[in-house]
C-alpha cells in the first residue's frame, strides 16, 4: 500500500504521512533525546520498558514460589529447612512488593495514561511535561532502591510491612520503605499531572460529558493517587523512623500501637486497590464501545461510578482489619461501606453488557481480553461479597481465599485490561500490527492458566489454608500442585504475549491510522503520532459516535468522513 494512496484514502485529514514525515519515535535521535525528553509519548514508552521489566521480575518470583510449594508436596524432597523458609518468605514479599508498587499501580496510568491521555484530549502534551519526566526518574530511583534491597539482604515483611515484625526483622526494611516512598512520589506526580491536564487542556467542544470514559477513569484514579499516596508516604516515613530511631509510635514494646500502623497503611493501600482497577475499567469501557461499534450504554452512570468508587474507596480501609482487634463498631461501619462499593462496580458490569446489546461485536484480541475481564472481575467482585460480610471474613481472612480474591481483581482483571489496552493501542503507539492468531492463542493460555491457578485457591482457602505459608499440611497438597501447574500455563501465555509484541516491533505489518474504527481523538492522528501529536486540530464530537468512520479493505482500517461527522454531530444536538 503506497503512501499516496493512504493519504487519499484518509481523506487528507490527519492521515498517513510519508516516510519523510517524522513521528515521535524518530523525531530526534540519541539516548539523551530519550532520557531528557518532555514528550508524554516517549515518557510512556520509557515507563513501558521499566514497568514490564519489573513485571518480569515479580512474575519470576511468583513462578519460583509456586515451584517451591509444588516441590514441598513431593514426598521424596527433603523436609523443609529454615533456609528454604527464608527464601520463600523473601520471594513472596518481593513478588508482592515489586508487583504492587512497580507494576500494578503504575502500569495503566503511567504507560497507557501517559501515552493516550493527551491524545484523547487532542492536546500537545500533559500540563506539566517536566514533572512527568521527573515522575519517571522517581520511578527509576525507587526501582534502584528495590534493587539495592535485593542485593542487601532482601525483604521478608510481606508487602504490607506490618509492625512490629517489620521493625524487628534484620532485612532491608528501611531501604524498601524509602523505595516505596519514592515510587509514591512518581505516582503522585502522575496523578497531579492528569488532574491538571484534564481540567485545563480539554479542547473547546469537549465538555466533561464528552470525555472518553478512559479519561473519567484516569481522573478518578488521579484523585486517589493524590489524596491517598501522601498518607503512605508519611506511614513509610514513620516506619523508617521507627526502624532507624525507634520512635515507638507503632512498636508496642515502646508503648506504641501496631494496629494504628494498619490503619495508616490501609488508608492508602485500600484506595490503592482502586488505583489498580479503575484505569483498567476505563480501558474496558473503551474496548466495549469500539468493538461493539456503538455508543456505550449509560455513559454518565459509568463515569459517575468511577468517581463513586474512588471516593467510597477511601472509607473502607478497615475491612482489612476485621480480625485485628479493631473495635466492633469500626468493623460494622467498614463492612457496611464496603458493600456500598459493590454497587458502582455492578453498575459498570451491567452497562458494559448493555453496550453489547444490539452491537456489532468483533472478537479481535482486545475484545477477547475485555470479555475475559468481565468473567474474572465478576468472580473477583462476587468473592469480595464473601469477604465484606463480617462473619465470613473472620473465617476467610489471611487464607488462600483472600489470595485468590485479590488475584482475580488485581491480576486477573487488571492484567487482562492492561494487556487488552496494550493490544488496542499498540498500532497507535508503534504504527505496527501484531499477529492476531498468536495473540488469540496467548489469550487462551492466559485465560485458562489464570483460572487454573487461582480458582482452586478459593477452595483451598475455604478449607482453611493460611496464606504466606512456606509449608503446609498434607491435605492441602493437591490444591498447591494444581495451582502451580496452572501458573505455568499462565506464565507461558504471558511469554507468548511478550514474544508477539517484540515480533511485531520488528516484523509487524504497518498499521493503519485507525485499525478498529474508534472515534476517540487518538484515532484522528497518524500511527504513530507525530511529535506534536496532531497535524491539525482534530474534530471533537461525541467520543463514541463511530458512524463517520468507514472501513477500507485496502488498508484494513477505517477512514474518516469529516462531513458526515459534522452532520452526525449536528443531528445529535437536535
Amino acid at each position: 500500500m503506497s503512501v499516496i494512496q493512504d493519504q487519499v484514502k484518509s481523506g487528507g485529514y490527519g492521515g498517513q504521512h510519508g516516510p519523510g514525515e517524522t513521528n515521535y519515535i524518530n523525531h530526534s535521535k540519541g539516548v539523551l533525546s530519550w532520557l531528557l525528553t518532555l514528550d508524554h509519548k516517549r515518557i510512556g514508552l520509557m515507563y513501558m520498558v521499566a514497568v514490564i521489566t519489573a513485571f518480569l521480575g515479580g512474575g519470576l518470583c511468583a513462578i519460583a514460589l509456586r515451584t517451591m510449594l509444588y516441590l514441598r508436596a513431593a514426598p521424596d524432597v527433603a523436609p523443609i529447612t529454615a533456609g528454604t523458609q527464608d527464601l520463600y518468605n523473601q520471594l513472596f514479599t518481593l513478588h508482592g512488593a515489586i508487583l504492587v508498587f512497580m507494576f500494578i499501580i503504575p502500569a495503566v496510568p503511567a504507560i497507557l495514561g501517559n501515552m493516550i491521555l493527551p491524545l484523547m484530549l487532542g492536546a500537545k502534551d500533559v500540563a506539566f511535561p517536566r514533572l512527568n519526566l521527573l515522575s519517571w526518574y522517581c520511578y527509576m530511583a525507587g526501582a534502584t532502591l528495590f534493587l539495592y534491597v535485593l542485593l542487601s539482604g532482601g525483604l521478608d515483611t510481606g508487602w504490607t510491612f506490618y509492625t512490629p515484625y517489620s521493625t524487628s526483622t534484620t532485612t532491608s526494611v528501611a531501604a524498601a520503605t524509602m523505595g516505596a516512598f519514592v515510587l509514591g512520589f512518581s505516582s503522585i506526580l502522575t496523578g497531579l499531572n492528569f488532574i491538571a491536564t484534564i481540567h485545563m487542556l480539554r479542547p473547546a467542544g469537549m465538555g466533561w460529558f464528552k470525555m472518553p470514559l478512559f479519561l473519567w477513569a484516569l481522573y478518578a484514579t488521579s484523585i486517589i493517587q493524590v489524596l491517598a499516596t501522601p498518607v503512605l508516604a508519611i506511614t513509610l516515613l514513620l516506619l523508617c523512623a521507627e526502624t532507624v530511631l525507634h520512635i515507638g509510635i507503632f512498636d508496642p514494646a515502646l508503648g506504641g500501637d501496631p494496629v494504628l500502623f494498619q490503619h495508616f497503611f490501609w488508608f492508602y493501600s485500600h484506595p490503592a486497590v482502586y488505583i489498580m482497577i479503575l484505569p483498567g475499567m476505563g480501558i474496558i469501557s473503551e474496548l466495549m464501545a469500539t468493538f461493539c461499534r456503538r455508543q456505550v450504554f449509560g455513559y454518565s452512570f459509568i463515569a459517575f461510578s468511577s468517581i463513586a468508587i474512588a471516593l467510597l474507596g477511601f472509607l473502607v480501609w478497615g475491612h482489612h482489619m476485621f480480625t485485628s482487634g479493631q473495635s466492633a463498631m469500626a468493623n460494622a461501619v467498614f463492612s457496611l461501606i464496603t458493600f456500598s462499593v459493590a454497587i458502582p462496580s455492578a453498575i459498570k458490569i451491567f452497562n458494559w453488557l448493555a453496550t453489547m446489546y444490539k452491537g456489532s461485536i468483533s472478537l479481535a484480541t482486545p475484545m477477547l481480553y475485555a470479555l475475559a475481564f468481565i468473567w474474572l472481575f465478576t468472580i473477583g467482585g462476587l468473592t469480595g461479597v464473601f469477604l465484606g460480610a463480617l462473619s465470613l471474613d473472620i473465617m476467610a481472612h489471611d487464607t488462600y481465599f483472600v489470595v485468590a480474591h485479590f488475584h482475580y481483581v488485581m491480576v486477573g482483571s487488571m492484567l487482562t485490561s492492561f494487556i487488552g489496552g496494550m493490544y488496542y493501542w499498540w498500532p497507535k503507539m508503534f504504527g505496527k500490527m501484531y499477529n492476531e492468531t498468536v495473540a488469540k492463542i496467548a489469550w487462551g493460555l492466559i485465560f485458562v492458566g489464570f483460572n487454573l491457578t487461582f480458582f482452586i485457591q478459593f477452595i483451598a482457602g475455604s478449607q482453611g489454608m493460611p496464606r504466606r505459608y512456606a509449608d503446609y499440611l498434607p491435605e492441602f497438597a493437591f490444591y498447591h500442585k494444581f495451582s502451580t501447574v496452572g501458573s505455568y500455563v499462565l506464565a507461558i501465555g504471558l511469554f507468548v504475549v511478550l514474544f508477539n509484541w517484540i515480533h511485531s516491533l520488528i516484523y509487524g505489518r504497518k498499521a493503519p491510522q485507525n485499525p478498529w474504527g474508534g472515534n476517540t481523538l487518538e484515532w484522528h492522528t497518524s500511527s504513530p503520532p507525530p511529535h506534536e501529536n496532531f497535524h491539525e486540530d482534530p474534530l471533537v464530537t461525541e467520543p463514541y459516535e463511530m458512524r463517520a468512520w468507514d472501513y477500507d479493505e485496502s488498508i484494513d482500517g477505517y477512514v474518516f468522513d469529516k462531513d458526515k461527522a459534522i452532520e452526525l454531530d449536528q443531528q445529535s444536538h437536535h
Binding site: 487532542g122 492536546a123 512490629p164 521493625t167 524487628s168 526483622t169 534484620t170 481540567h199 485545563m200 487542556l201 480539554r202 479542547p203 473547546a204 489524596l227 498518607v231 512498636d251 508496642p252 514494646a253 515502646l254 508503648g255 500501637d257 494496629v259 494504628l260 490503619h263 495508616f264 488508608f267 477511601f314 472509607l315 478497615g318 482487634g325 479493631q326 473495635s327 466492633a328 463498631m329 469500626a330 461501619v333 486540530d537
Partner: protein, 115 residues
Amino acid sequence: MNAHTNDDHGIGHVSPIWMLLGVFALLIFFTVLTVAVTYVDLGPANIWIALAVAVVKGALVGLYFMHLRYDSPFNSLILVGAFLFLAVFIGIALMDTGEYQQNISPPDTVRPVAG
C-alpha cells in the same frame, strides 16, 4: 483548542496593600489571643478554642494571602476536599483506637522483640 481567550493583562488578583497589612494585623491579633487564652483555664474547651483560632487564622491565610477568595472555586474545593478526607481518616482512626484502648495492656508486659 481552548476557548479561553483573554488578553495578557489581568491575570490573577492583585491584593491592595491595606488588605495585606490588615490580614497580617488580624493574624497577629489571633496569635496573641490564642497564647493569652492558655493562661485562662477553661478545661477541655481550651484546645477547641485554640483549634478554632487556628482555623480562622488558616482561613485568613488561605483566602487572602493565597488568593483563594478571588481564585477559581475549584482550588478551594481541592483544599476543602483534602481537609475532608483528612477528617475522615483522623475521625475513624480516633474512634477505633479509642474503642479498643481498654484492650491495651501496660507495655511492660510486652517483651522487646529480639533482633
